[in-house]
């Protein structure tokens, strides 16, 4: 765990609820026209003249010039959320704005507001509601989703990625490729979404091995994606492909003579082969090994360095090494000697690629040139230059492991970058889908469901398809998806209303009712915006979904594995009418994470005095440990409440970072 240094410069700034509302509503207005399957794209023009079209919420928000601290904080929250789940940044802002509006309306209606100081009472009510919402989400939302939403979903098989119609038992469209296809459809365009999803499935298929789980492969891909893909601009997207081997994004520094496909041996070198003559801060003490000569000059020293270099190259030759991957730029003498010894040298390889190589091949890099052991030597099937677009790179294939990397083509540099980031987000989204219980913080805080608390949870309707139950705690099974287009929101809305009604019947306080009502109303804005051009579809979808919630939830076939039969033969092989062929799929756990992140961001927005002027996150490690951190706080004014507020804010933010 690396340590973050969170520098928080405080200055007194009073934030009223209406400012928070205005800020968030402005951000909502910015992304609203790009939202949904019929949303438009934003054209960005840099001062250099480069133009870019994008409908990714994170990119749009990051490109805005914002100095307002709350706006910057919201954008930061959106960015962090999308770095985890890869999707849902526009939905985030939409939900945040609608919940904040409802809270604002509730706060201004609260009794006592007109009598006393309006803003203080409003702020207090808003904070209280936000805290209640978050508490509700942490404790009961999981169960609601598992009980009322997930049974209408479907668990996608993780066994086969090849094509979508190959499996006889798989109904058309229920596989990983369909999920990826609808993701790319919303993120990029509908022309290439099938092709790109096929490409992603191919890549996944290569990297998933028999004994590993899908989530392991996804995590590996996510962590090493920069090293596993190459961007080539100037070609159409359809020329993207998967190639064998790991591509090192540097050309050979010495001529590479690969005559036949013999396995070659390679080493990884992190230091300079020839000891550097003069480095900053070095002091040369001239004296040649104890021998006292008449003169003291640098020439014997440089002769010595050359001799040591020759011995290093000789050692490498004796081990049969013919490829050297170096992290630094070697001296001219080293290059000359390596060329003479017919060794291929690649310089200035990036740290990520080297670490990936080391991980895949299992060798240790050479840190001390005088101690070269056989375990530093890796065997490669081939190592040859490859021409991708305008650049020549080195391509390696390791025998024990057959990696493959992705070549992403695009018509311009900016477009290619967009495709690459869309790919990475797709991998993140898949990872979140297959690892729904990754958020260990929230599950630790959860208490098990007590059956007498809320009678609206129809536990007997639950099947084992999408939800598994272990010791009274409901957990989503990996790979649970649901049709896109607002189905999740409608189902959850219905469930929340029922929950609110049943809880008011029992001895819950009134605030419990208000909270589920607020959340239920806010959720409906998402489908409303999706169907804003076509209200008829909105009503149609709503009636279709609610008709399913009133009956027993229909269950679908679960693909346990490609070869096995289904558990329940009477279910037949017709999918439920809830799934239509063109509706697309979306992941349930991504939506769940989205809701949690929105409610956490909400608690920050409802803080009445904003004391954070500038937040500087050092872009080091991803994980952050709250208790081991050092928070440097420079206070300009010392009020007790201000300190408390600042601590609360940092706690919320750090909680976000943890999540």
């Amino acid at each position: 765990l690396k340590k973050y240094k969170l520098e928080v410069m405080l200055s007194v700034k009073h934030l009223h609820l209406k400012h928070a509302l205005q800020t968030v509503c402005t951000l909502e207005a910015v992304i609203l026209r790009s939202f949904g399957p019929e949303g438009g794209q934003v054209l960005f023009t840099r001062d250099t003249g480069q133009a870019m079209l994008s409908c990714s919420g994170t990119q749009i928000l990051k490109a805005l010039r914002l100095e307002h601290p709350l706006a910057r904080m919201v954008v930061e929250c959106v960015w962090k959320h999308s770095a985890v789940t890869g999707d849902g940044s526009k939905t985030f802002v939409l939900l945040l704005a609608s919940i904040l509006r409802l809270i604002h309306a509730a706060a201004s209606k609260a009794p006592g507001v007109s009598q006393w100081s309006t803003e203080a009472a409003e702020a207090a009510t808003a904070r209280h509601l936000a805290d209640k919402l978050l508490a509700f989400a942490m404790t009961e939302l999981d169960d609601l989703i598992c009980v009322s939403v997930a049974p209408h979903g479907f668990c996608v098989s993780s066994e086969d990625f090849t094509t979508k119609t190959q499996l006889p038992s798989c109904p058309n469209g229920f596989c990983v490729q369909a999920l990826l296809s609808s993701f790319f459809h919303t993120r990029l365009d509908y022309v290439h979404c099938d092709f790109l999803s096929g490409l992603a499935c191919e890549l996944l298929g290569h990297w998933k091995f028999q004994n590993d789980t899908l989530s392991f492969a996804l995590q590996f891909l996510n962590d090493n994606f920069p090293a596993l893909h190459t961007q080539v601009s100037g070609f159409p997207v359809s020329s993207s492909h998967v190639i064998e081997g790991q591509v090192i994004h540097r050309d050979f520094a010495t001529p590479c003579l690969q005559v036949n496909n013999q396995p070659v041996k390679a080493v990884v070198v992190t230091e300079y082969l020839q000891p550097k003559l003069l480095r900053r801060g070095d002091m040369l003490d001239l004296g040649c090994g104890g021998r006292v000569t008449g003169e003291k000059s640098i020439i014997p020293f440089s002769a010595w360095t050359e001799r040591s270099l020759e011995s290093v190259i000789a050692t490498l030759q004796s081990l049969g090494v013919s490829v050297l991957l170096c992290a630094v730029k070697q001296s001219a003498a080293a290059l000359a000697l390596a060329a003479q010894a017919e060794m291929c040298l690649v310089e200035c390889v990036s740290e990520e690629e080297l670490s990936l190589f080391v991980r895949l091949s299992g060798v240790a890099p050479i840190s001390d040139c005088w101690m070269i052991q056989p375990e530093n030597v890796a065997t490669l099937t081939f190592c040859k230059p490859i021409q991708l677009g305008a650049h020549r790179y080195a391509d390696n294939l390791i025998t024990s492991f057959k990696p493959c990397s992705l070549v992403i083509c695009g018509s311009g540099e900016v477009q290619t970058e967009q495709y690459a980031s869309a790919f990475q987000d797709a991998i993140r989204m898949l990872f979140t889908t297959w690892e729904p219980t990754r958020m260990t913080e929230t599950t630790a805080l959860k208490k098990p469901v007590q059956s007498h608390q809320c009678t609206s949870l129809n536990a007997h309707n639950l099947t084992e398809d999408t939800v598994c139950r272990s010791s009274d705690v409901y957990v989503l099974k990996p790979g649970c998806v649901i049709p896109a287009g607002g189905t999740f929101e409608f189902l959850l809305h219905h469930a929340l209303l029922q929950h609110g009604r049943s809880c008011s019947a029992s001895n819950y306080t009134n605030t419990g009712v208000g909270v589920s009502q607020i959340l239920a109303d806010a959720l409906l804005t998402v489908p409303r915006q999706i169907y804003s051009h076509n209200l008829k579809s909105f009503l149609q979808t709503q009636t279709r979904v609610t008709s399913f919630t009133s009956n027993q939830p229909h269950h679908f076939m679960l693909l346990k594995n490609a070869r096995g039969t289904t558990e329940d033969p009477e279910k037949g092989d017709e999918p439920s009418k809830l799934f239509t062929l063109d509706s697309g799929l979306e992941s349930v756990s991504c939506k769940h994470q989205l809701l949690l992140a929105v409610l956490q961001c909400l608690t920050i927005c409802c803080v009445d005095s904003l004391f954070i002027r500038a937040l500087i996150f050092k872009p080091a490690a991803y994980l952050y440990s709250f208790y081991e951190s050092k928070i440097y706080v420079r206070c300009f004014s010392l009020f007790r409440s201000s300190i408390m507020a600042a601590v609360k804010i940092t706690h919320c933010l750090l909680h976000l970072v943890l999540v």
Binding site: K13, Q22, C25, T26, V30, K109, A110, A121, H128
Partner: protein
């Protein structure tokens, strides 16, 4: 918005106000709802405009405008810009009849509407009755150059009540309810209606005599409109009595 009376926030949870008792939350009246709705729409408009400016490359500052409290934007030439002050019409000035002819017009129309709906104080008496029973002051006059017709009509309604019988204002005050929707009981309706009818007829007769003797075009037009409004009040009185 589905948040009706369901949300009841107990003030005991606010530490700042420990001495509060439980206030009864009353739903806002229709006028207040309209104001809230208008304010919300204005805020939405402001947000949309600000969003468009942000997409054009303006910078959102951390400061607010002194006048209206909206967040300030800054363009590429380092000039500050407040969306609501400089683009939208002001929220409050809009409703002040002294500054805005539209507001004056709408105020006069509102009063006329209140005058014509049952049970009506008859139209000529409205301004006099309303002003004498409520504020006691005069109705703020709209600028005649902007709204000739209705303003003139409104103005013309004023001078007649000064002249005629003192019984009319007394009748007006006894039967002038401040809100049109409030309707008295049917038992007390008959004498009230009859008195109203008599008053309207008296006014009609006076207007007719004035019309016969008037020489100016303006006055004739105004008297005709007065007769029209008397006739319509008589009609509504007849409908009410049925």
């Amino acid at each position: 918005m589905a948040l009706n009376g369901g949300l009841c926030y107990h003030p005991a949870n606010i530490h700042m106000f420990p001495d509060e008792e439980d206030f009864e939350w009353e739903p806002p009246s229709e006028a207040e709802m309209k104001v809230i709705q208008a304010r919300r729409e204005r805020q939405d408009k402001i947000s949309k405009l600000m969003g468009d400016y942000l997409l054009k490359g303006y910078k959102m500052l951390g400061e607010c405008c002194d006048l209206c409290g909206t967040i300030l934007l800054q363009d590429k030439q380092q000039k500050n810009y407040c969306v609501s002050c400089q683009e939208l019409d002001s929220d409050i000035d809009k409703d002040n009849p002294a500054l805005n002819a539209q507001a004056a017009l709408s105020q006069v129309r509102e009063r006329q509407l209140a005058a014509q709906s049952p049970p009506p104080p008859h139209a000529p008496q409205l301004n006099g009755g309303a002003s004498s029973s409520q504020s006691g002051g005069t109705v703020p006059q709209p600028r005649p150059e902007h709204c000739e017709g209705a303003a003139a009509g409104g103005r013309a309604l004023l001078p007649p009540p000064v002249a005629p019988t003192p019984a009319a204002p007394a009748a007006a005050t006894t039967l002038a309810p401040s809100r049109p929707p409030v309707s008295p009981q049917s038992s007390t309706l008959r004498p009230v209606l009859q008195e109203a009818e008599e008053a309207v007829l008296t006014k009609l007769r006076w207007a007719t005599t004035q019309l016969q003797s008037s020489a100016s075009l303006e006055t004739s037009i105004q008297l005709c409109s007065l007769i029209t409004s008397c006739a319509s009040s008589l009609r509504s009185l007849k409908e009410l009595s049925q």
